[in-house]
């Protein structure tokens, strides 16, 4: 059996995804970070970006995460995000409309959020 780590992806108002995984890649403020089982305890600040979880069944879960933390200890990884959406929950058309609106209004943060969502949705 391959080594596994337990992942919990938690948004402020719900638990988005939890399960066993072999690799988690997330974007922190100082760059992308990959966590595999047995990683040293870690606590980092996440940036708005996609999170990729390779599950132990061989599948891949992609989620768009906006603002939050990654914490890893005892082979348990928690991804805390204010807003987190799995790639298959994302409504592409709605996000595209949001992106256009954000561009029109010059709202850089909203534009970035929409962009992250679109990229997460594209990778499903």
């Amino acid at each position: 059996m391959a080594a596994e780590l337990h992942v919990a992806l938690v948004a402020a108002d719900r638990e988005v995804w939890s399960g066993e995984a072999t690799l988690v890649v997330a974007r922190t403020t100082s760059g992308d970070i990959g966590v595999m089982p047995g990683h040293q305890p870690l606590l980092g600040v996440l940036e708005s970006g996609p999170v990729t979880i390779r599950t132990s069944e061989g599948g891949t879960v992609v989620a768009a995460v906006h603002g939050g933390f990654i914490s890893f200890a005892d082979n348990k990884l928690s991804l805390l995000a204010e807003i987190a959406e799995l790639s298959d929950e994302i409504d592409v058309q709605r996000v595209e409309r949001e992106l256009e609106r954000a561009k029109a209004e010059g709202d850089a943060a909203a534009e970035r959020r929409a962009d992250v969502r679109l990229r997460a949705a594209a990778s499903r």
Binding site: A8, V10, A11, A12, D13, R14, E15, T28, T29, S30, I33, Q40, P41, L42, L43, G44, V45, G67, G68, F69, I70, S71, A73, D74, S78, L80, E82, I83
Partner: protein, 305 residues
């Protein structure tokens, strides 16, 4: 129909209509309590993980942060009071307001200035009516608060605490909300949110003397704490908002239940009175008829003679 009877009938009709309304409100509130409780439960994983992370940074590093260090002399404190937008919830709002007033009095006795922040129209109306100063207020989401609402509330508070006291910032942040203990019990309580005492947080998150691992901080302990603490405040405010909403619905349910019961009692009394009035009317009619026919019989008997 006699006048008396008609009045009773009319009152019964109006009370029955009121009873229907209160019954409906009771049922709506009951279903909302369940929904609100579910939301409280759904927000728990985030809150626990966040608390764990805060404890990890707080105990795992010697970082000093304005949000965790106690000011030497507290000049000004902020009190955040959570009430509801709508009434019809028994003593829910007055209990919360009373708790806030007690806290304010206590803080003022300690020589601190108090800035009041209010969520919910009821609390705001109470303060405005008494012409007391309110630093900031929010309303319109107390029935079903979202995380974005909590962020909106927490934002100015965090800003105020980060500002220097001389420039109008605050040194302490207290929150007054109604804790949802159970369907039957909700208690208004006050809690000091900031400055955070990490020992207490640690006690809450690791009650079994669990030793926290030595974390590697990315990018640095200070930056992590900087980012964590506002989130921690937001999540605490969010939790308080959700509990307050659940408590409000439970209080409404209870208030509406007793209103429905009272209406039922009133209907019973009124229909007894209406029945008595009807009986009295019938008795009177019979005695009038008997009296009339007796008089007639007497008159005809007299003419025969």
């Amino acid at each position: 129909m006699g006048a008396q009877l008609r009045v009773y009938k009319r009152r019964i009709r109006s009370v029955t209509a009121t009873k229907k309304i209160t019954k409906a409100m009771e049922m709506i509130a009951a279903s909302r309590v369940v929904k609100a409780q579910r939301k409280v439960a759904a927000s728990t994983p985030y809150a626990t993980e966040l608390t764990r992370a805060v404890t990890a940074v707080g105990t795992g590093s010697n970082t000093k942060h304005p949000l965790t260090t106690q000011a030497e002399t507290v000049v000004r404190s902020a009190v955040l009071l959570l009430t509801s937008d709508r009434g019809l919830a028994g003593a829910f709002n007055s209990n919360a307001i009373k708790a806030a007033e007690q806290l304010t009095a206590r803080l003022e006795a300690e020589g601190k200035q108090v800035d009041t922040y209010i969520v919910g129209r009821r609390g705001l109306a109470h303060y405005n009516f008494r012409e007391r100063k309110v630093a900031e207020s929010w309303s319109g989401f107390t029935d079903e608060p979202s995380y974005a609402d909590a962020k909106k509330v927490a934002g100015p508070l965090i800003e105020a605490i980060e500002k220097d006291t001389a420039e109008g910032g605050v040194d302490e942040l207290h929150i007054v909300f109604t804790e949802f203990v159970s369907m039957m019990t909700q208690t208004a309580l006050d809690d000091r949110l900031l400055p955070l005492s990490l020992d207490e947080v640690a006690k809450e998150s690791a009650p079994k003397g669990e030793i926290l691992p030595l974390y590697d901080f990315e990018p640095s302990a200070e930056d992590v704490l900087d980012a964590l603490l506002p989130r921690y405040v937001e999540s605490r405010v969010y939790n308080a908002l959700l509990q307050s909403a659940a408590s409000k619905h439970a209080a409404t349910r209870r208030a509406m239940k007793s209103a429905t019961d009272n209406a039922g009692e009133l209907i019973e009394t009124l229909s007894r009175l209406a029945n008595a009035a009807r009986q009295a009317e019938i008795t009177q009619e019979i005695s009038e008829i008997v009296g009339g026919s007796a008089a007639l019989a007497d008159a005809t008997a007299g003419s025969d003679r």
